[in-house]
Symmetry: C2
Subunit: 344 residues, 2 copies
DNA sequence: CTGAAAGCGCTAACAT
DNA sequence: ATGTTAGCGCTTTCAG
């Protein structure tokens, strides 16, 4: 399907030099006479010569392409990370190859292999389930620089983490200090780092006051909006209602707000709400939602920077781990629990 | 940086056959004895042989990679389109290469050339400004299947459009029928198809009732949230206030809602609002926002399908254009204008 | 049905 | 400083 393009030989012939010389011009070697250089360049210009990157990759054994494997690129969190990473990569001369897994572990392994066949120089990814050994193996056999996003695997691999525990600690503490005791947390599975860390921060906040959270109020099975809705709905309509709910993820918040609307619950009078990750929705909801925020831009940039570092330094060396801060951004979705609710 | 991988020669040697035979097995040629095949396959298996796609591309002159050039992947509209397109492409054995332009026309041309050097089989893109001749030239010289998203260029190229005019017509008509006359439209520049079409639908709705829209109420210079805020704010604080505002894009709505909040304007009592494209925000804002909706999923899928078709059929043939429907989704952000406002 | 060999476009020695 | 040449890993004639 490819057109017949001008090749380095065409340029060489037209400029009256050898292919080696053209190649040297192309790669900016110093040992080329200014005049020869000029001659070659003008031929390239005139024929709009585009070096064939595939052939270059074949020869140099690197593609300057980086694979990005992600579960759902349409999630604003991920797309923001991708954008930031792509910016850094582009700057460094790398091109980003995107693969969406759609939350399938099988697909994930397939895509790792696919990108390996396509000879990516490195990979940035966030595995679907940390515990999956097939994926772990695939990554380990890769022998490529890999950077994990918010995932902790028992293999030596670079990673960028967000400090979810600390953010969740602050969020929970905030609610406790407002007087809440019946606080629910809806977050993704503890089988992945973010879920685990959030629950840890949540429990620690209770413990710091000598309290213990109600285990029935910790819902951690998925990060989908659907799950957020289901859990919120059953919490809000159950007999033992929480006075505050923390949504551990932007999609969970979407489900939570749907349930809140359906149940005609008022925020913050009837229910205090805190979410994780700042989005258009949290900023513009009524009332604006207090969130545990972090810089997704930093996450993407750091991941890309880490990968590039790994690419340039070559294999070996201790795995690098970067922990990015989170902080509580107060808005208007939290208030002391109403007396009636507290008395229940 | 690449590891020394098992090659087709290794496999051939180990299986006691020639490289040609291994290649035939790899490509599923019928003319291979079942036994030879088995032998070769088992060696491949044993050594986890991964054919080098770069070498294959070099030889076959196609990469099975498709470039996707977009201005802002973090915009939920675009990331949803990318996701849908990627799904279809993956299904067909193509891999998506993503390039974010960040709204720079220079960068756009550079990226087109970059992806050309990397020998993409095809391109899906949405140019930043239709009028830019440098980009038009770059696309035309590409000699590759290209699919444009919501852009109309004076060159023969496939494209997928949304029927913005029709949706905007309905939206405007809806407001007019509620009694609004001072309706403002904030949308992107008419230099691009969506802006042009939206304004066309807007004007036609007025004309269908023998009316003419106030030209001061048509703001069309950008699709950023910042622009949406600025225009909304000056509309809402001006002496000649609109009773309804239509946001021509999800980011413009973000700006509009910020201005609404700042000005303490009530929706829909003081101001009716309609937006374009359904998002979490429009569904969960208070009140939920009436929108001109369309299937972004279809847009991505159709673009990918069109490209694949172009890839398989080869060059030549009339450019294909697909028009996707839009429709008005009524929610609670519109009401008749209040008397006081109407009298002004 | 299978092997041998040419060559895709480029880079990097090695010569000169 | 520049030319010559050997591959990179694969597919595809062309023979046999």
């Amino acid at each position: 399907m490819m057109q017949r393009h001008t090749t380095i030989r065409d340029v060489a012939r037209l400029a009256g030099v050898s292919v080696g010389t053209v190649s040297r011009v192309l790669n900016g070697h110093r040992s080329v006479t200014p005049e020869t250089m000029r001659k070659v360049m003008s031929v390239m210009e005139a024929h709009a010569y585009q070096p064939n990157a595939v052939a270059q990759s074949m020869r140099t054994r690197n593609t300057r392409m980086v694979g990005f494997i992600i579960s759902d690129i349409s999630n604003t969190l991920f797309s923001s990370i991708v954008k930031a990473a792509e910016g850094v990569l582009q700057e460094a001369g790398y091109t980003l190859v995107l693969a969406n897994t759609g939350e399938g572990t099988v697909r994930e392994v397939e895509l790792i292999h696919l990108l390996q066949q396509r000879r990516m120089d490195g990979l940035i990814m966030t595995v679907f389930q940390e515990g999956n050994t097939a994926v772990q193996e695939a990554i380990q056999n890769l022998r490529l620089p890999v950077v994990l996003l918010d995932r902790e695997l028992p293999i030596p691999v670079d990673a960028v983490y967000a400090d979810h525990a600390s953010g969740m600690f602050q969020a929970t503490k905030h609610l406790l200090e407002l007087g809440h005791r019946r606080i629910a947390l809806i977050t993704e599975s503890r089988l992945n780092r973010p879920g685990r860390e959030r629950i840890r921060g949540f429990e620690q906040a209770f413990q710091s006051l000598g309290l213990t959270p109600d285990p029935d109020f910790i819902c951690s099975r998925s990060l989908s909006a659907e799950y957020g809705f289901r859990e919120s709905y059953s919490l809000l309509t159950g007999s033992h209602r929480p006075t505050a709910i923390i949504a551990g993820g932007n999609q969970i918040l979407v489900g939570l707000l749907k349930a809140v609307r359906l149940c005609s619950v008022r925020i913050p009078e009837d229910l205090s709400v805190i979410s994780c990750d700042d989005t258009d929705l949290t900023a513009l909801a009524t009332p604006p939602v207090t969130v545990v925020q972090r810089s997704v831009r930093d996450m993407g940039r750091q991941a890309a920077a880490l990968l590039i570092q790994g690419l340039e330094e070559g294999p070996g060396g201790e795995p690098r781990r970067i922990l990015l801060p989170t902080e509580l951004l107060l808005r208007q979705s939290c208030a002391p629990p109403c007396e009636e609710a507290s008395r229940e």
